[in-house]
């Protein structure tokens, strides 16, 4: 769909809401932000969605050892799950996509760890623990300093080395 058609349709739908809703089943229940809270865990690259709290690499180290190392290796070198610390300077088709050489945004680490990790106990970490683990991974990959604290303000400002390493495959489809 072209952008023009999309905008026209979006405008039509925006206008239609509240006008034609009576003709559709209209069985959706309105939901408030507070009722959504437990599910609303998207974190955007600009930091939208990041919760209160903070953490440092020093706080993250023991959590990593206990909850991450069994699958990702004692030093994050990889095991049954992928490598999280170090790795080759550049990814190739032979492998080697790492936090340091690939991820365009640091917010992705927070979002993914909070929603999916640890693999066998997702959503069991506190927000402070997720900040601490994020800081630990960024520091061990030499992207932030060892004592830098990650929170809702500092994390989105972290500049990842490969931020500009991507080409949008089909720009006309966005």
């Amino acid at each position: 769909m072209s952008m023009c058609r999309l905008l026209a349709l979006a405008a039509l739908l925006a206008f239609a809401a509240g006008n034609t809703a009576a003709e559709s089943p209209n069985l959706g229940k309105p939901i408030s932000p507070s009722d959504l809270k437990a599910w609303d865990i998207f974190v955007m690259p600009d930091g939208t969605g990041l919760p209160p709290g903070s953490g440092t690499a020093a706080q993250g180290a023991p959590i990593f050892k206990q909850k991450c190392a069994p699958c990702h290796g004692e030093n994050g070198e990889g095991g049954i799950a992928g490598q999280l610390i170090g790795g080759p300077p550049r990814a190739t088709l032979d492998g080697g996509k790492t936090i340091a050489n690939f991820y365009p945004y640091a917010t992705t680490i927070f979002d993914y760890v909070r929603r999916a990790m640890p693999y066998t106990q997702p959503r069991s970490l506190t927000d402070a623990e997720v900040y601490a683990l994020t800081a630990f991974l960024l520091a061990r990959n030499k992207i932030i300093g060892e004592t830098d604290s990650m929170d809702a303000q500092t994390l989105p400002k972290v500049k990842m080395p490969n931020r500009d390493g991507f080409i949008t495959r089909f720009p006309d489809r966005i």
Binding site: P25, L27, F102, Y112, P122, F170, I174
Partner: protein
């Protein structure tokens, strides 16, 4: 015998060869009984032995079994199964691949549809499942499955293909694997559900919205960002697969279905869609589904599953027992729309003939193609090349690799060096009738 046969073919006036190494006019298959009968006749004369006297089998002399409430295939078909790469549910991704070489038609049986799960298959109580649409909408709404059942539904046949399907063909050496291992992460079903645009009519859309971030109720809470344009075009909240509720591995009780788009984006166990101005840059779009290019950059937002085809029969493991007439068949599909034509070669791409397309030919769905072929017992390299209605067509592997790269050493067949491989696949037939995967 074989030489004599080969010589005889050259003289036969009944074959209508349309390309090198034995390809026969596709019209021989399409109701023109005389043409195929002629072709079969020459082979039949060579291979047929006299039939034995008939007798009743034991099953014809006793009462059969009770009809089960839910029928499963015959016990003689127990080898027609998916291959699973994490049978003990270790803490890693799990995949099951479709046995294309043992299937015909365009619809994948539900139990054989490919499945990838990133945290096992969740056991979701449909009565407690909720779908929430929020973010840049006028009215955030929550829907139950029971509520969605009352909405107007549509049914459409279409494929789902993992972005990493065919990834073993990025290996610098052709891996000796079958079509299930190489291309088994694509399947095709009739999906029934509510168009997402129907639900967005009720929530309304803030004009600033350009993306929607979808999330599943599985343990990784898998999430992907999808352009809102796709959501308003043909996206569906699918609840039924080939007439029955979608399978647990397909996202029970509901999944996002984005016809023609990368499988991972078709979020299963769909529980939430948030409209936003920007993509969330989730793990899967930031890392996994970003494809490294030879120049060191990487593609992102590939989304589209481009035009593709592969021959399912003959294929590795299906040895040809003797020279004679065979049907070359396979599936073609394109995320852009309908398949326009499929060309087949039996001589490694030196000459091509147009295959018959089995109706129905549907947009963004598997299309079955067929090509009659007389194998003379000599070496052959079988290839198919699909063209879609927008004019896109499959590159050769050499052309594809020049643009997208390959590994520096052979990979595991279970590995994913990159994604969105859609070049031509080649099967070599040797004089023993064995079929091997080759690069030409």
């Amino acid at each position: 015998m074989r030489n004599k046969h080969r010589n005889a073919v050259g003289k036969s006036p009944r074959h209508e060869f349309v390309a090198g190494n034995g390809l026969i006019d596709r019209r021989a298959l399409l109701g023109s009984g005389a043409a195929l009968a002629g072709a079969l006749g020459s082979a039949g004369a060579l291979t047929s032995a006299a039939a034995e006297p008939l007798a009743d089998g034991p099953w014809s002399l006793e009462v059969g079994a009770a009809i089960p409430p839910y029928q499963v295939p015959s016990p003689f078909e127990t080898s027609v199964v998916r291959t699973v790469d994490n049978p003990n549910n270790e803490p890693r991704n799990s995949r099951a691949r479709t046995p294309h070489h043992l299937l015909k038609g365009i619809i994948t049986p539900n139990g054989l549809h490919f499945t990838i799960c990133h945290g096992g298959v969740p056991n979701i109580d449909p009565a407690q499942h909720r779908l929430v649409i929020h973010g840049l909408v006028k009215r955030p709404l929550e829907f139950t499955l029971e509520a969605l059942e009352r909405y107007p539904m549509v049914s459409r046949v279409g494929f789902v293909e993992c972005g990493g399907n065919s990834a073993p063909l990025f290996s610098n050496v052709a891996l000796q694997e079958n079509v299930q291992a190489l291309h088994g992460l694509a399947s095709c079903s009739e999906w029934t559900g509510v168009l997402l645009s129907t639900l967005l009519e009720e929530t309304g859309i803030d004009p600033k919205a350009k993306w929607m971030i979808a999330e599943g109720a599985d343990s990784p809470h898998l999430s992907r960002s999808v352009p809102l344009a796709k959501g308003l075009d043909d996206a569906m909240v699918a609840m039924y697969q080939n007439g029955e509720r979608i399978q647990p591995g397909q996202g029970y009780p509901m999944r996002l279905w984005l016809p023609g788009y990368e499988g991972n984006m078709n979020v299963k166990f769909l529980r939430r869609i948030m409209l936003a101005e920007e993509p969330a840059m989730t793990y899967y779009e930031s890392r996994t589904y970003a494809q490294i290019l030879p120049n060191g950059k990487a593609y992102r937002f590939y989304f589209l599953q481009e035009v593709k085809s592969f021959i399912s029969r003959p294929s590795p493991g299906l040895t040809l027992k003797e020279p004679g007439i065979y049907e070359i068949t396979g599936v073609a599909y394109s995320g852009t729309g309908r398949i326009a034509r499929v060309m087949v070669s039996a001589d490694g791409g030196k000459s091509w003939a147009q295959a018959a397309l089995q109706e129905p030919v549907l947009p963004k769905a598997f299309t079955r193609f067929r090509m009659p072929w007389r194998w003379d017992g000599g070496p052959a390299v079988l290839q198919s090349r699909a063209f879609d209605e927008a004019g896109n067509f499959q590159p050769t592997r050499a052309e594809f690799v020049a643009a997208r790269g390959e590994t520096s050493k052979p990979t595991s067949v279970l590995g994913f060096p990159s994604q969105h491989f859609n070049a031509i696949t080649s099967w070599a037939v040797d004089p023993k009738g064995e079929v091997k995967h080759v690069y030409v």
